[in-house]
Protein backbone atom coordinates (compact mmCIF):
# COMPACT_ATOMS: atom_id res chain seq x y z
CA UNK A 1 0.00 0.00 0.00
CA UNK A 2 1.46 3.31 -1.07
CA UNK A 3 0.80 6.16 1.39
CA UNK A 4 1.01 9.28 -0.76
CA UNK A 5 0.36 11.54 2.21
CA UNK A 6 3.83 10.76 3.54
CA UNK A 7 5.79 9.25 0.63
CA UNK A 8 8.68 11.46 -0.50
CA UNK A 9 10.34 11.55 -3.90
CA UNK A 10 13.53 10.31 -2.29
CA UNK A 11 11.70 7.26 -0.88
CA UNK A 12 9.71 6.66 -4.06
CA UNK A 13 12.92 6.50 -6.10
CA UNK A 14 14.22 3.79 -3.78
CA UNK A 15 10.85 2.02 -3.79
CA UNK A 16 10.84 1.91 -7.59
CA UNK A 17 14.41 0.60 -7.75
CA UNK A 18 13.65 -2.06 -5.13
CA UNK A 19 10.49 -2.96 -7.07
CA UNK A 20 8.30 -2.35 -4.00
CA UNK A 21 5.91 -0.88 -6.55
CA UNK A 22 5.96 -0.09 -10.26
CA UNK A 23 5.77 3.38 -11.79
CA UNK A 24 2.30 2.44 -13.08
CA UNK A 25 1.17 1.51 -9.56
CA UNK A 26 2.58 4.76 -8.20
CA UNK A 27 0.88 6.89 -10.84
CA UNK A 28 -2.36 4.93 -10.43
CA UNK A 29 -2.21 5.61 -6.68
CA UNK A 30 -1.96 9.34 -7.46
CA UNK A 31 -4.88 9.15 -9.88
CA UNK A 32 -6.92 7.38 -7.19
CA UNK A 33 -6.25 10.14 -4.66
CA UNK A 34 -7.10 12.78 -7.27
CA UNK A 35 -10.32 10.93 -8.11
CA UNK A 36 -11.24 10.82 -4.44
CA UNK A 37 -10.23 14.29 -3.30
CA UNK A 38 -10.08 16.69 -6.19
CA UNK A 39 -13.81 17.24 -6.56
CA UNK A 40 -13.59 19.07 -3.22
CA UNK A 41 -10.21 20.73 -3.71
CA UNK A 42 -10.01 21.49 -7.45
CA UNK A 43 -6.23 21.50 -7.61
CA UNK A 44 -6.23 20.24 -11.20
CA UNK A 45 -7.58 21.80 -14.38
CA UNK A 46 -6.79 18.65 -16.36
CA UNK A 47 -5.43 15.18 -15.81
CA UNK A 48 -3.37 14.16 -18.82
CA UNK A 49 -4.83 11.07 -20.47
CA UNK A 50 -1.34 9.70 -21.14
CA UNK A 51 -0.22 9.73 -17.48
CA UNK A 52 -0.27 5.93 -17.24
CA UNK A 53 1.43 5.60 -20.63
CA UNK A 54 4.24 7.82 -19.33
CA UNK A 55 4.42 5.57 -16.26
CA UNK A 56 4.65 2.47 -18.47
CA UNK A 57 7.58 4.03 -20.33
CA UNK A 58 9.26 4.59 -16.98
CA UNK A 59 8.64 0.95 -16.03
CA UNK A 60 10.28 -0.14 -19.28
CA UNK A 61 13.34 1.90 -18.46
CA UNK A 62 13.38 0.57 -14.91
CA UNK A 63 13.43 -2.94 -16.37
CA UNK A 64 15.99 -2.34 -19.11
CA UNK A 65 18.47 0.21 -17.77
CA UNK A 66 21.26 -0.31 -15.27
CA UNK A 67 20.59 1.33 -11.90
CA UNK A 68 23.39 3.81 -12.54
CA UNK A 69 21.77 4.87 -15.83
CA UNK A 70 18.33 5.59 -14.42
CA UNK A 71 17.35 9.24 -14.84
CA UNK A 72 16.75 11.15 -11.62
CA UNK A 73 12.97 11.46 -11.62
CA UNK A 74 12.14 8.21 -13.39
CA UNK A 75 8.53 7.26 -12.69
CA UNK A 76 7.93 10.14 -10.24
CA UNK A 77 4.42 11.61 -10.66
CA UNK A 78 4.45 15.40 -10.70
CA UNK A 79 2.13 18.24 -11.73
CA UNK A 80 2.79 21.49 -13.57
CA UNK A 81 1.14 24.85 -13.12
CA UNK A 82 -1.12 25.74 -16.02
CA UNK A 83 1.33 28.39 -17.31
CA UNK A 84 4.15 25.92 -18.05
CA UNK A 85 3.87 24.61 -21.60
CA UNK A 86 3.71 20.90 -22.43
CA UNK A 87 3.66 20.26 -26.17
CA UNK A 88 0.29 19.06 -27.38
CA UNK A 89 -1.48 19.84 -24.10
CA UNK A 90 -3.76 22.72 -23.18
CA UNK A 91 -2.11 25.58 -21.31
CA UNK A 92 -4.54 28.30 -20.29
CA UNK A 93 -2.73 30.23 -17.52
CA UNK A 94 -6.09 30.07 -15.74
CA UNK A 95 -7.58 32.42 -18.34
CA UNK A 96 -10.54 32.34 -20.71
CA UNK A 97 -8.37 34.04 -23.31
CA UNK A 98 -6.23 30.86 -23.55
CA UNK A 99 -8.95 28.33 -22.68
CA UNK A 100 -8.54 26.45 -25.95
CA UNK A 101 -4.85 27.09 -26.54
CA UNK A 102 -2.76 23.98 -27.15
CA UNK A 103 0.98 24.39 -26.54
CA UNK A 104 3.04 24.01 -29.70
CA UNK A 105 6.28 23.30 -27.84
CA UNK A 106 7.68 22.12 -24.51
CA UNK A 107 8.98 24.65 -22.04
CA UNK A 108 12.64 24.08 -21.19
CA UNK A 109 11.57 22.97 -17.70
CA UNK A 110 9.12 20.46 -19.23
CA UNK A 111 11.76 19.16 -21.62
CA UNK A 112 14.18 18.61 -18.76
CA UNK A 113 11.53 16.92 -16.63
CA UNK A 114 10.65 14.58 -19.48
CA UNK A 115 14.34 13.76 -19.93
CA UNK A 116 14.55 13.08 -16.20
CA UNK A 117 11.74 10.53 -16.61
CA UNK A 118 9.08 12.32 -14.56
CA UNK A 119 5.44 11.38 -15.12
CA UNK A 120 3.54 14.62 -15.76
CA UNK A 121 0.12 13.81 -14.34
CA UNK A 122 -1.68 17.03 -15.20
CA UNK A 123 -1.87 20.80 -15.07
CA UNK A 124 -2.84 22.67 -11.94
CA UNK A 125 -5.13 25.60 -11.24
CA UNK A 126 -3.80 29.11 -10.76
CA UNK A 127 -4.81 32.74 -10.50
CA UNK A 128 -5.28 34.03 -14.03
CA UNK A 129 -1.85 34.81 -15.53
CA UNK A 130 -0.44 34.25 -12.02
CA UNK A 131 -2.11 37.45 -10.82
CA UNK A 132 -3.24 36.80 -7.30
CA UNK A 133 -2.47 35.36 -3.89
CA UNK A 134 -5.42 33.01 -3.44
CA UNK A 135 -6.16 31.10 -6.69
CA UNK A 136 -9.62 32.69 -6.57
CA UNK A 137 -8.83 34.61 -9.76
CA UNK A 138 -8.83 31.48 -11.92
CA UNK A 139 -11.35 31.69 -14.74
CA UNK A 140 -12.14 28.05 -13.96
CA UNK A 141 -13.12 28.37 -10.31
CA UNK A 142 -11.08 28.56 -7.10
CA UNK A 143 -8.88 25.87 -5.56
CA UNK A 144 -9.63 25.05 -1.91
CA UNK A 145 -7.15 24.59 0.90
CA UNK A 146 -6.85 20.85 1.76
CA UNK A 147 -6.72 21.74 5.49
CA UNK A 148 -10.00 23.68 5.36
CA UNK A 149 -12.01 23.83 2.16
CA UNK A 150 -13.60 27.14 3.20
CA UNK A 151 -10.15 28.72 2.95
CA UNK A 152 -7.85 29.59 0.06
CA UNK A 153 -4.68 27.58 -0.65
CA UNK A 154 -2.81 30.80 -1.44
CA UNK A 155 -1.64 31.68 -4.88
CA UNK A 156 -1.01 32.13 -7.56
CA UNK A 157 0.34 28.54 -7.72
CA UNK A 158 -2.43 27.34 -5.39
CA UNK A 159 -3.27 24.26 -7.46
CA UNK A 160 0.30 22.96 -7.37
CA UNK A 161 0.57 23.59 -3.62
CA UNK A 162 -2.76 21.90 -2.86
CA UNK A 163 -1.93 18.93 -5.10
CA UNK A 164 1.27 18.23 -3.15
CA UNK A 165 -0.32 18.91 0.25
CA UNK A 166 -3.24 16.55 -0.48
CA UNK A 167 -0.94 13.76 -1.63
CA UNK A 168 -2.17 13.85 -5.24
CA UNK A 169 1.39 14.01 -6.64
CA UNK A 170 4.85 13.74 -5.10
CA UNK A 171 5.99 17.12 -6.35
CA UNK A 172 4.84 20.02 -8.48
CA UNK A 173 6.13 23.11 -10.18
CA UNK A 174 4.84 26.64 -9.99
CA UNK A 175 6.07 30.10 -10.87
CA UNK A 176 6.94 32.81 -8.37
CA UNK A 177 6.71 36.48 -9.38
CA UNK A 178 6.06 37.98 -5.94
CA UNK A 179 5.61 34.95 -3.72
CA UNK A 180 3.40 32.70 -5.83
CA UNK A 181 5.30 29.55 -4.80
CA UNK A 182 6.26 30.42 -1.21
CA UNK A 183 2.95 31.89 -0.04
CA UNK A 184 0.77 28.89 -1.11
CA UNK A 185 3.43 26.53 0.25
CA UNK A 186 3.06 28.22 3.66
CA UNK A 187 -0.75 28.07 3.50
CA UNK A 188 -0.74 24.34 2.70
CA UNK A 189 2.15 23.15 4.88
CA UNK A 190 4.62 22.14 2.16
CA UNK A 191 8.07 23.29 1.05
CA UNK A 192 8.03 25.93 -1.71
CA UNK A 193 11.27 27.08 -3.29
CA UNK A 194 12.03 30.08 -5.51
CA UNK A 195 15.51 29.87 -7.03
CA UNK A 196 17.79 32.81 -7.82
CA UNK A 197 16.47 34.82 -10.75
CA UNK A 198 17.86 33.21 -13.88
CA UNK A 199 18.64 29.75 -12.47
CA UNK A 200 15.65 28.10 -14.17
CA UNK A 201 14.79 28.90 -17.77
CA UNK A 202 11.46 30.61 -18.38
CA UNK A 203 11.33 29.53 -22.01
CA UNK A 204 7.79 28.19 -22.36
CA UNK A 205 6.53 29.84 -19.16
CA UNK A 206 3.63 32.21 -19.86
CA UNK A 207 5.11 35.52 -18.69
CA UNK A 208 3.77 37.84 -15.98
CA UNK A 209 6.59 40.14 -14.85
CA UNK A 210 9.72 39.21 -16.74
CA UNK A 211 12.24 40.84 -14.39
CA UNK A 212 10.66 38.89 -11.49
CA UNK A 213 9.31 35.53 -12.75
CA UNK A 214 11.04 32.34 -11.73
CA UNK A 215 9.98 28.68 -11.92
CA UNK A 216 10.39 26.54 -8.81
CA UNK A 217 9.22 23.36 -7.05
CA UNK A 218 6.78 22.32 -4.33
CA UNK A 219 7.56 19.21 -2.30
CA UNK A 220 7.11 17.63 1.11
CA UNK A 221 10.76 17.95 2.04
CA UNK A 222 13.72 20.21 1.28
CA UNK A 223 15.55 17.18 -0.10
CA UNK A 224 12.73 16.61 -2.59
CA UNK A 225 12.61 20.29 -3.53
CA UNK A 226 16.34 20.13 -4.24
CA UNK A 227 15.90 17.00 -6.39
CA UNK A 228 13.20 18.76 -8.43
CA UNK A 229 15.23 21.96 -8.72
CA UNK A 230 18.32 20.05 -9.85
CA UNK A 231 16.26 18.53 -12.66
CA UNK A 232 15.25 21.88 -14.19
CA UNK A 233 18.04 24.36 -13.35
CA UNK A 234 20.73 25.61 -15.69
CA UNK A 235 21.64 27.97 -18.46
CA UNK A 236 19.41 27.96 -21.53
CA UNK A 237 20.04 29.66 -24.85
CA UNK A 238 16.29 30.18 -25.18
CA UNK A 239 16.14 32.41 -22.08
CA UNK A 240 18.78 35.11 -22.19
CA UNK A 241 18.40 35.83 -18.47
CA UNK A 242 19.53 32.36 -17.41
CA UNK A 243 22.84 32.14 -15.57
CA UNK A 244 25.25 29.34 -15.04
CA UNK A 245 27.48 29.02 -12.02
CA UNK A 246 30.79 28.87 -13.86
CA UNK A 247 33.24 30.74 -11.66
CA UNK A 248 34.74 33.97 -12.96
CA UNK A 249 36.46 37.00 -11.47
CA UNK A 250 33.17 38.59 -10.50
CA UNK A 251 31.59 35.29 -9.49
CA UNK A 252 33.92 33.42 -7.19
CA UNK A 253 33.54 29.65 -7.12
CA UNK A 254 30.80 28.47 -4.84
CA UNK A 255 33.22 26.22 -3.03
CA UNK A 256 34.76 29.34 -1.57
CA UNK A 257 34.42 28.82 2.15
CA UNK A 258 31.60 30.72 3.75
CA UNK A 259 30.36 30.72 7.28
CA UNK A 260 28.99 27.34 8.19
CA UNK A 261 31.35 25.61 5.81
CA UNK A 262 34.36 26.53 7.92
CA UNK A 263 32.83 24.81 10.89
CA UNK A 264 31.42 28.11 12.08
CA UNK A 265 27.75 28.59 12.61
CA UNK A 266 25.44 30.15 10.05
CA UNK A 267 24.17 33.58 11.00
CA UNK A 268 20.47 34.28 10.69
CA UNK A 269 19.40 37.91 10.36
CA UNK A 270 15.97 38.93 11.63
CA UNK A 271 14.50 42.23 10.34
CA UNK A 272 12.70 42.80 13.61
CA UNK A 273 10.88 46.05 12.83
CA UNK A 274 9.57 44.66 9.56
CA UNK A 275 8.11 41.61 11.32
CA UNK A 276 6.59 43.61 14.15
CA UNK A 277 4.61 45.72 11.70
CA UNK A 278 0.85 45.84 12.04
CA UNK A 279 -1.11 43.39 9.94
CA UNK A 280 1.02 40.46 11.09
CA UNK A 281 -1.23 38.16 13.11
CA UNK A 282 -0.62 37.05 16.68
CA UNK A 283 -0.41 33.38 15.62
CA UNK A 284 2.23 34.17 13.01
CA UNK A 285 4.31 36.22 15.46
CA UNK A 286 4.18 33.46 18.09
CA UNK A 287 5.14 30.80 15.59
CA UNK A 288 8.00 32.96 14.38
CA UNK A 289 9.42 33.32 17.90
CA UNK A 290 9.22 29.52 18.32
CA UNK A 291 11.05 29.13 15.03
CA UNK A 292 13.84 31.44 16.22
CA UNK A 293 14.16 29.39 19.42
CA UNK A 294 14.42 26.22 17.35
CA UNK A 295 17.19 27.72 15.22
CA UNK A 296 19.05 28.85 18.34
CA UNK A 297 18.77 25.34 19.79
CA UNK A 298 20.17 23.96 16.56
CA UNK A 299 23.22 26.16 17.18
CA UNK A 300 22.55 29.01 14.79
CA UNK A 301 23.50 32.55 15.63
CA UNK A 302 20.45 34.80 15.45
CA UNK A 303 20.86 38.55 15.25
CA UNK A 304 18.56 41.47 14.57
CA UNK A 305 19.16 43.41 11.39
CA UNK A 306 17.80 46.68 10.18
CA UNK A 307 16.45 46.95 6.67
CA UNK A 308 15.58 50.54 5.93
CA UNK A 309 14.22 50.03 2.46
CA UNK A 310 12.59 46.60 2.67
CA UNK A 311 9.26 48.14 3.59
CA UNK A 312 9.13 49.78 0.16
CA UNK A 313 9.40 46.45 -1.68
CA UNK A 314 5.69 45.84 -1.90
CA UNK A 315 4.95 49.30 -3.31
CA UNK A 316 7.76 48.99 -5.85
CA UNK A 317 6.54 45.51 -6.72
CA UNK A 318 2.97 46.61 -7.41
CA UNK A 319 4.33 49.18 -9.87
CA UNK A 320 6.98 47.09 -11.64
CA UNK A 321 4.86 43.92 -11.96
CA UNK A 322 1.74 45.54 -13.50
CA UNK A 323 3.99 47.59 -15.80
CA UNK A 324 5.68 44.45 -17.11
CA UNK A 325 2.39 42.55 -17.20
CA UNK A 326 0.68 45.23 -19.26
CA UNK A 327 3.49 44.92 -21.78
CA UNK A 328 3.69 41.10 -21.72
CA UNK A 329 -0.04 40.66 -22.15
CA UNK A 330 -0.31 42.81 -25.28
CA UNK A 331 0.41 39.61 -27.22
CA UNK A 332 -3.08 38.31 -26.47
CA UNK A 333 -4.89 40.03 -29.28
CA UNK A 334 -7.20 37.39 -30.73
CA UNK A 335 -5.16 37.20 -33.93
CA UNK A 336 -2.38 34.64 -33.58
CA UNK A 337 -3.83 32.26 -31.01
CA UNK A 338 -6.32 32.11 -28.17
CA UNK A 339 -9.78 33.56 -27.90
CA UNK A 340 -11.17 35.74 -30.69
CA UNK A 341 -14.26 37.88 -30.24
CA UNK A 342 -15.30 39.65 -33.40
CA UNK A 343 -15.98 43.41 -33.35
CA UNK A 344 -16.95 45.99 -35.96
CA UNK A 345 -13.46 46.35 -37.32
CA UNK A 346 -9.92 45.21 -36.74
CA UNK A 347 -9.17 47.40 -33.70
CA UNK A 348 -12.58 46.64 -32.19
CA UNK A 349 -11.60 42.94 -32.38
CA UNK A 350 -8.80 43.74 -29.91
CA UNK A 351 -11.11 45.58 -27.52
CA UNK A 352 -13.77 42.90 -27.56
CA UNK A 353 -11.35 39.97 -27.36
CA UNK A 354 -9.32 41.43 -24.50
CA UNK A 355 -12.36 42.79 -22.68
CA UNK A 356 -14.03 39.37 -22.76
CA UNK A 357 -10.95 37.15 -22.45
CA UNK A 358 -9.18 38.77 -19.50
CA UNK A 359 -10.71 38.43 -16.05
CA UNK A 360 -11.19 41.29 -13.66
CA UNK A 361 -7.80 41.20 -11.93
CA UNK A 362 -5.96 40.87 -15.26
CA UNK A 363 -7.84 43.88 -16.65
CA UNK A 364 -7.12 45.80 -13.43
CA UNK A 365 -3.39 45.14 -13.57
CA UNK A 366 -3.04 45.79 -17.29
CA UNK A 367 -4.76 49.16 -16.93
CA UNK A 368 -2.75 49.99 -13.78
CA UNK A 369 0.44 49.03 -15.62
CA UNK A 370 -0.58 51.20 -18.54
CA UNK A 371 -1.02 54.10 -16.12
CA UNK A 372 2.37 53.81 -14.40
CA UNK A 373 4.06 53.64 -17.80
CA UNK A 374 2.04 56.42 -19.40
CA UNK A 375 3.46 59.76 -20.44
CA UNK A 376 3.53 62.14 -17.48
CA UNK A 377 3.50 59.41 -14.84
CA UNK A 378 6.36 57.20 -15.95
CA UNK A 379 9.09 58.92 -13.90
CA UNK A 380 6.84 59.45 -10.93
CA UNK A 381 5.85 55.78 -10.59
CA UNK A 382 7.88 53.39 -12.71
CA UNK A 383 11.09 55.43 -12.46
CA UNK A 384 10.74 55.74 -8.68
CA UNK A 385 10.03 52.02 -8.35
CA UNK A 386 13.21 51.17 -10.25
CA UNK A 387 15.22 53.49 -7.98
CA UNK A 388 13.66 51.83 -4.94
CA UNK A 389 14.55 48.45 -6.43
CA UNK A 390 18.17 49.55 -6.72
CA UNK A 391 18.28 50.76 -3.10
CA UNK A 392 16.64 47.59 -1.80
CA UNK A 393 19.06 45.47 -3.83
CA UNK A 394 22.10 47.31 -2.48
CA UNK A 395 20.80 47.04 1.05
CA UNK A 396 20.17 43.29 0.83
CA UNK A 397 23.46 42.52 -0.87
CA UNK A 398 25.27 44.46 1.84
CA UNK A 399 23.32 42.69 4.59
CA UNK A 400 24.48 39.34 3.24
CA UNK A 401 28.06 40.36 4.04
CA UNK A 402 27.06 40.00 7.71
CA UNK A 403 24.43 37.26 7.72
CA UNK A 404 23.87 34.08 5.71
CA UNK A 405 20.11 34.00 5.85
CA UNK A 406 17.36 36.53 6.35
CA UNK A 407 14.44 34.98 8.20
CA UNK A 408 10.83 36.22 8.21
CA UNK A 409 7.40 34.62 8.37
CA UNK A 410 6.32 33.68 4.83
CA UNK A 411 2.90 35.28 5.23
CA UNK A 412 1.40 37.84 7.65
CA UNK A 413 -1.55 35.51 8.45
CA UNK A 414 -2.56 31.87 8.02
CA UNK A 415 -4.78 30.96 5.04
CA UNK A 416 -7.71 33.36 4.80
CA UNK A 417 -11.32 32.56 3.93
CA UNK A 418 -12.47 32.27 0.34
CA UNK A 419 -14.00 35.62 -0.60
CA UNK A 420 -12.48 37.44 2.37
CA UNK A 421 -10.17 39.65 0.32
CA UNK A 422 -11.58 39.40 -3.17
CA UNK A 423 -13.55 42.65 -3.00
CA UNK A 424 -10.53 44.68 -1.87
CA UNK A 425 -7.55 44.25 -4.22
CA UNK A 426 -5.15 46.20 -1.97
CA UNK A 427 -5.77 43.91 1.02
CA UNK A 428 -4.98 40.94 -1.23
CA UNK A 429 -1.74 42.63 -2.39
CA UNK A 430 -0.65 43.05 1.26
CA UNK A 431 -0.57 39.24 1.61
CA UNK A 432 2.71 39.38 -0.37
CA UNK A 433 4.50 41.70 2.09
CA UNK A 434 7.25 39.23 3.11
CA UNK A 435 7.72 37.47 -0.22
CA UNK A 436 8.11 40.19 -2.87
CA UNK A 437 11.57 41.38 -1.83
CA UNK A 438 13.24 38.17 -3.00
CA UNK A 439 11.76 38.80 -6.46
CA UNK A 440 12.69 42.50 -6.48
CA UNK A 441 16.32 41.60 -5.71
CA UNK A 442 16.36 38.21 -7.49
CA UNK A 443 17.32 36.28 -4.35
CA UNK A 444 16.72 32.55 -3.76
CA UNK A 445 14.11 32.01 -1.08
CA UNK A 446 12.29 29.06 0.43
CA UNK A 447 9.19 28.65 2.58
CA UNK A 448 9.40 25.85 5.14
CA UNK A 449 6.49 24.47 7.15
CA UNK A 450 6.95 25.76 10.72
CA UNK A 451 3.87 24.60 12.58
CA UNK A 452 0.19 25.37 12.86
CA UNK A 453 -2.21 28.03 14.01
CA UNK A 454 -5.49 26.98 15.56
CA UNK A 455 -8.32 29.09 14.17
CA UNK A 456 -12.03 28.30 14.58
CA UNK A 457 -11.08 24.81 15.72
CA UNK A 458 -9.10 24.11 12.54
CA UNK A 459 -5.37 23.57 12.36
CA UNK A 460 -3.91 25.80 9.65
CA UNK A 461 -0.31 25.48 8.48
CA UNK A 462 2.20 28.29 8.87
CA UNK A 463 5.50 28.84 7.11
CA UNK A 464 8.78 30.63 7.63
CA UNK A 465 10.79 32.09 4.81
CA UNK A 466 14.54 31.77 4.48
CA UNK A 467 16.24 34.02 1.95
CA UNK A 468 19.91 33.84 0.97
CA UNK A 469 22.27 35.84 -1.20
CA UNK A 470 22.23 35.47 -4.99
CA UNK A 471 23.20 31.97 -6.16
CA UNK A 472 23.32 30.65 -2.58
CA UNK A 473 20.63 28.00 -2.97
CA UNK A 474 23.11 25.64 -1.30
CA UNK A 475 22.77 27.51 2.01
CA UNK A 476 18.98 27.34 1.87
CA UNK A 477 19.06 23.60 1.23
CA UNK A 478 21.58 22.91 3.99
CA UNK A 479 19.77 25.00 6.61
CA UNK A 480 16.31 23.93 5.47
CA UNK A 481 17.17 20.24 5.83
CA UNK A 482 18.53 20.79 9.29
CA UNK A 483 15.44 22.75 10.33
CA UNK A 484 13.08 20.01 9.13
CA UNK A 485 15.27 17.26 10.57
CA UNK A 486 16.13 15.69 7.20
Amino acid sequence: MINLQTLTIQEAREGLKRKDFSARELTQACLDVIEKKDKDIHAFLEIFEDALTQADEADNKLKNLKTSELPNLLGIPIALKDNILVKGKHASAGSKILENYVATYDSTATKKLKEAGAVIVGRTNMDEFAMGSSTENSAFGPTKNPFDTTRVPGGSSGGSAAAVAAGMVLGAFGSDTGGSIRQPAAFTGVVGFKPTYGRVSRFGLIALGSSLDQIGPFAKTVTDAEILYDAVKGEDLFDSTTIDLTPSASHPPLSLPRRGERGEVYVIGVPRKFIDSEGVSKEVKENFEQTLEKFKKLGYKVQDIELKYAKHSLAAYYIIMPAEASSNLTRFDGVKYGLHVSGQDSIDDYFKTRGAGFGREARRRIILGTYVLSSGYYDEYYGSALKAKRLITDEYRKTFEDVDIILTPTTPTPAFKIGEKSSDPLSMYLADIFTVTANIVGLPSVSLPSGFAELDGVRLPLGVELTADLRREDILFAVGKEFLGE
Partner: protein, 98 residues
Protein backbone atom coordinates in the same frame (compact mmCIF):
# COMPACT_ATOMS: atom_id res chain seq x y z
CA UNK B 1 -7.61 59.61 -11.28
CA UNK B 2 -11.19 59.83 -12.52
CA UNK B 3 -13.48 57.70 -14.64
CA UNK B 4 -12.53 59.44 -17.89
CA UNK B 5 -8.86 58.77 -17.19
CA UNK B 6 -9.60 55.09 -16.54
CA UNK B 7 -11.51 54.91 -19.83
CA UNK B 8 -8.59 56.57 -21.64
CA UNK B 9 -6.13 54.08 -20.12
CA UNK B 10 -8.38 51.13 -20.99
CA UNK B 11 -8.37 52.51 -24.53
CA UNK B 12 -4.57 52.58 -24.59
CA UNK B 13 -4.56 49.00 -23.29
CA UNK B 14 -7.16 47.96 -25.91
CA UNK B 15 -9.57 46.61 -23.32
CA UNK B 16 -13.32 47.17 -23.45
CA UNK B 17 -14.59 48.07 -19.96
CA UNK B 18 -18.14 48.92 -18.94
CA UNK B 19 -19.12 52.18 -17.23
CA UNK B 20 -19.69 50.31 -13.99
CA UNK B 21 -16.28 48.66 -14.10
CA UNK B 22 -14.59 51.99 -14.88
CA UNK B 23 -16.20 53.43 -11.75
CA UNK B 24 -15.05 50.50 -9.63
CA UNK B 25 -11.55 50.72 -11.07
CA UNK B 26 -11.39 54.44 -10.34
CA UNK B 27 -12.07 53.75 -6.67
CA UNK B 28 -9.67 50.79 -6.52
CA UNK B 29 -6.88 52.70 -8.26
CA UNK B 30 -7.23 55.51 -5.72
CA UNK B 31 -6.37 53.17 -2.87
CA UNK B 32 -3.72 51.21 -4.81
CA UNK B 33 -1.96 54.36 -6.08
CA UNK B 34 -2.14 55.88 -2.64
CA UNK B 35 -0.27 52.84 -1.34
CA UNK B 36 2.30 52.35 -4.11
CA UNK B 37 2.83 56.13 -4.42
CA UNK B 38 4.99 56.04 -1.29
CA UNK B 39 7.95 55.02 -3.48
CA UNK B 40 7.98 58.55 -4.85
CA UNK B 41 9.42 59.70 -1.52
CA UNK B 42 12.06 57.00 -1.25
CA UNK B 43 14.85 58.43 -3.30
CA UNK B 44 14.24 62.13 -2.90
CA UNK B 45 14.68 61.97 0.87
CA UNK B 46 17.68 59.67 0.78
CA UNK B 47 20.85 59.14 -1.15
CA UNK B 48 20.78 58.23 -4.79
CA UNK B 49 21.06 54.57 -5.66
CA UNK B 50 24.45 53.23 -6.63
CA UNK B 51 24.98 52.33 -10.23
CA UNK B 52 28.47 50.96 -9.78
CA UNK B 53 28.63 48.08 -12.19
CA UNK B 54 31.55 46.50 -10.32
CA UNK B 55 29.27 45.97 -7.37
CA UNK B 56 26.56 44.66 -9.60
CA UNK B 57 27.46 41.00 -9.82
CA UNK B 58 24.03 39.99 -10.95
CA UNK B 59 25.22 38.21 -14.03
CA UNK B 60 22.24 38.53 -16.34
CA UNK B 61 23.52 39.43 -19.77
CA UNK B 62 22.13 39.16 -23.24
CA UNK B 63 22.98 35.86 -24.85
CA UNK B 64 23.49 36.24 -28.55
CA UNK B 65 23.89 33.48 -31.08
CA UNK B 66 24.83 33.55 -34.73
CA UNK B 67 21.95 33.67 -37.14
CA UNK B 68 22.67 30.33 -38.76
CA UNK B 69 21.40 26.78 -39.24
CA UNK B 70 17.76 27.68 -39.80
CA UNK B 71 15.27 24.87 -39.43
CA UNK B 72 13.64 23.47 -42.53
CA UNK B 73 11.12 25.98 -43.87
CA UNK B 74 7.54 25.15 -42.98
CA UNK B 75 8.45 22.65 -40.27
CA UNK B 76 6.27 24.34 -37.64
CA UNK B 77 3.85 26.23 -39.89
CA UNK B 78 0.88 23.90 -39.62
CA UNK B 79 1.10 23.52 -35.84
CA UNK B 80 1.39 27.26 -35.24
CA UNK B 81 -1.35 28.18 -37.71
CA UNK B 82 -3.68 25.64 -36.13
CA UNK B 83 -3.80 27.94 -33.10
CA UNK B 84 -4.91 30.98 -35.13
CA UNK B 85 -8.60 31.81 -34.57
CA UNK B 86 -9.07 32.61 -38.27
CA UNK B 87 -6.94 31.67 -41.20
CA UNK B 88 -6.98 31.48 -44.93
CA UNK B 89 -4.59 28.89 -46.29
CA UNK B 90 -1.24 29.58 -44.72
CA UNK B 91 -2.19 33.10 -43.66
CA UNK B 92 -3.64 34.43 -40.42
CA UNK B 93 -6.83 36.22 -41.37
CA UNK B 94 -7.81 39.62 -39.94
CA UNK B 95 -10.41 42.22 -40.86
CA UNK B 96 -9.60 44.85 -43.47
CA UNK B 97 -7.31 47.47 -41.93
CA UNK B 98 -7.43 50.31 -44.49
Amino acid sequence: MDKDEVMRLAGLARIAVSDKEAEDLTREFESILNYVGEVKNVTTNNQQPTTNSEKDDFPNRNKMRDDENPHESGLYTAELLNEAPEREGNYVKVKKIL
